[in-house]
Amino acid sequence: MFYIKRRYFRYALYALEIFILYIIEGTPYLIPEIALAKPLLLVSAAVSAAAFELPYFSLFFGVFCGLVIDVGTGGVMGLTSILLGGICYCVSAWNNKYIKNNIYLVLIYSAAAAIAVISLKFFIFYFIKPYPNPLNAYITHYLPRMVYTWAVTPIIYVLTMCVSKTYRTDKRKAKVKKRKRVPHSQRSAVSRRRAKRA
């Protein structure tokens, strides 16, 4: 029960992190523009959290971040959520099953997520609406935005790592009992030989 409570505290911290990043990324003049672009901090946050958490939670975290991005952009609600939720679920499942988490992997995930989420908007605006000069827009606006989003990932990763480590009970540590140290005289002949070799 205590474990569940601690976990919910951590989730609340994630929600707070999203909220703060949402405010920061939209506040005029707070983040400097580079090549006319500003980063999408929530994409990096979603991917970073997915790297630390279980697939279920990552899915909902991605969906929530996507909804908040849609709120900020003012487009059709839900499309970014579906995409980001899917990406986060895959990242988390992959990380939990096959690979140990590290910053380099998160940078790769973040690049993929930034390309997918930002290109989705490009696709909607320049192929469905459609706005003129798609190539020019992609080069001048979308590519710099992707690169900037990717570039801020390490900062967001560290922040998210701090959040993910807060209120986390390591079950394995709690379960594994400390082995009793056996005096040398009571050890078996085999273990004595092993100790000698060592």
């Binding site: 909220f19 405010i23 005029p28 899915l59 969906v63 709120v71 003129p132």
Partner: protein, 280 residues
């Protein structure tokens, strides 16, 4: 096995819920989540935006500019040091009120709402922004947004306490416009080739137009979306489309649409929603 089944259930449910939300938001152009979220977030955004509105602009200046500005400011501080502590604030507030009530004086039929920019979305290519006035303040979709220097854009989305403004730099902008001097009319619209420089274009103008550089371009009021005779900008140059050689004019708005921080929403004006011929 059980876990895989649960995952499938959760994924399916989530997908269905999101598709329903998308469909409803697309159909009604409105959704509850946005209302709730913006209602919670807007006070925080307003606070952070107001803190940085004065100081943040300095972040983009060079060191020399900042040093020069600093020395000028020091002189100014010396001049003002004997005056009342909050004199500047009061003066600034008075100036804002005066300039916007000047608009009201010139156009008694306008109902205006003074608003502050609280958010600039990093995912917006055409410098759209969010203001701190919403449906609670009678702001509606398509209401024109102006400053004392001219037209800025229109309200493209309204929440309870906030609204989104799409600027004239967007290709979605279609404003009936005319040259004040020559009376040539056309459509003022954004173009991605010019929007980065803060410029827009006057298109669908006749081949034998008499438009000249530095001419002032105003709204016509046709369509009933924008009031007539609001300044859009001045003609920077005339050009021809590289593909079909049709002429167009490049306009420079008097207001810097990329960094505007205070605006006025015209919530009501004479002739709003009335489609009419060109009004002079």
């Amino acid at each position: 096995m059980k876990e895989t089944g649960n995952v499938k259930k959760v994924l399916t449910t989530t997908l269905i819920v999101l598709l329903v939300v998308s469909a409803v938001s697309a159909a009604l152009n409105k959704n509850f989540f946005t209302d709730v979220y913006t209602f919670i977030a807007s006070p925080f955004q307003q606070t952070s935006a107001s803190i940085l509105s004065e100081y943040g602009q300095d972040a983009e200046k060079t060191k020399e500019e900042l040093l020069k500005e600093n020395s000028e400011l020091k002189k100014e501080v010396n001049e003002l040091i004997n005056q009342v502590i909050d004199y500047d604030d009061i003066k600034k507030e008075n100036e804002i009120l005066r300039k916007y009530y000047g608009i009201k004086d010139d156009n008694p039929d306008y109902k205006i709402e003074v608003a502050e920019v609280i958010r600039r979305d990093p995912n917006d290519d055409y410098y759209g922004f969010t203001i701190n006035k919403g449906s609670r303040n009678d702001v509606k979709i398509n209401d024109p947004v102006i400053t004392e220097n001219g037209l800025v854009g229109w309200i493209s989305d309204v929440q309870l306490t906030t609204s989104r403004v799409t600027t004239l730099l967007s290709p979605e902008a279609k404003v009936g416009a005319m040259d004040k001097k020559s009376s040539d009319s056309g459509i003022a619209t954004g173009n991605s080739s010019f929007s980065d420089e803060g410029l827009l274009t006057l298109t669908i103008i006749s081949a034998d137009n008499k438009i000249q550089e530095n001419d002032i371009v105003l709204t016509t009021g046709v369509g009933g979306v924008y009031p007539p005779n609001i300044v859009i900008g001045k003609v920077l140059r005339l050009d021809n489309d590289p593909y079909d050689t049709t002429p167009f004019a490049v306009l420079k708005p008097y207001e810097d649409l990329k960094s505007v921080s205070d605006v006025v929403v015209i919530t009501s004006f004479e002739g709003q929603g009335v489609v009419s011929a060109i009004a002079n």
